[in-house]
Subunit: 164 residues, 2 copies
């Protein structure tokens, strides 16, 4: 147990491995995403919608990949990597969403492990950029992503919900 | 000619139509995107990269659609609609990038025409949300998108360029 809160956190939970999520992981991923959305300002959690979105990604690997950190028993955390094209970068880029570590497994390096994995994956697959598109995140989270090499951009995202 | 600067601009250039871009439109779209990037803070224009990115989208309609506003003679403007999946909305969403009106045809309603078209398209195709992902835009541009129904979100985008 790490009792020094200021020390860099490098330990990971033994036997942790990172793998692409499968449909079997859906219920636990829905729980994780719903918990995230319950603390985000712009969203109301909705089990049916979250499951639908997650399922679409798992079923269409050309659209993206959800990676989970797991032991033999549990899912410790997840990241959602969506694939799109950038006219600025001239190639495929990753939109990183839903970066979530289960509350029971925080401050044990799971997030770092996941993001390191995503960066290696992006390099290997020749993605040109990773853009973090999460909602208002805590200062602690921003600091985490800065430590992982992410910079602020001057983008001003605006949204329009489409009523059908 | 509209001489009242405060009046809503509703005129459009006669014979304007909006169509999906084709590979024949690439050179003119590259010019438009390069001009945009030359005024954006985060990007350096690069003809080869911009052409590569635009070509990838035109050649893979499952990834997105570029719409151009054109007459028989010229391209007046363009918008780049990328398709991805939202776990929050539980379905497909549009990322709107590269909203550009040619300098010779500004203040004649071309942008409004293009964005109206995109909103109708998104409704028809059951996209759940449109997120504008352009870089730091002028107050005038922000006002334009607000008028079109776009809201600010609390997202804080962060980026990491991937060195391969």
């Amino acid at each position: 147990m790490n009792t020094d809160a200021t020390a860099p956190i490098k330990t990971t939970i033994p036997q942790t491995r990172i793998e692409p999520a499968t449909l079997d992981d859906l219920p636990m991923m829905v729980d994780l995403v719903m918990e995230l959305f319950s603390i985000e300002e712009d969203f109301q959690p909705n089990r049916a919608l979250q499951e639908k979105g997650l399922r679409l990604i798992v079923e269409q690997p050309s659209r993206g990949r959800i990676f989970v950190a797991r032991t033999d028993y549990e899912i410790l955390g997840m990241v959602n990597c969506l694939f799109t094209i950038s006219t600025a970068m001239g190639g495929f880029v990753v939109l990183l969403e839903d970066v979530i570590v289960h509350p029971d497994f925080r401050r044990q390096g799971v997030g770092t492990h996941l993001i390191d994995y995503v960066i290696s994956y992006a390099k290997k697959k020749d993605f040109k950029r990773i853009t973090l598109l999460t909602d208002k995140i805590s200062e602690e989270s921003q600091h985490f992503f800065e430590n992982m090499g992410f910079d602020y951009s001057s983008m001003i995202p605006m949204r329009l919900s489409v009523d059908t």
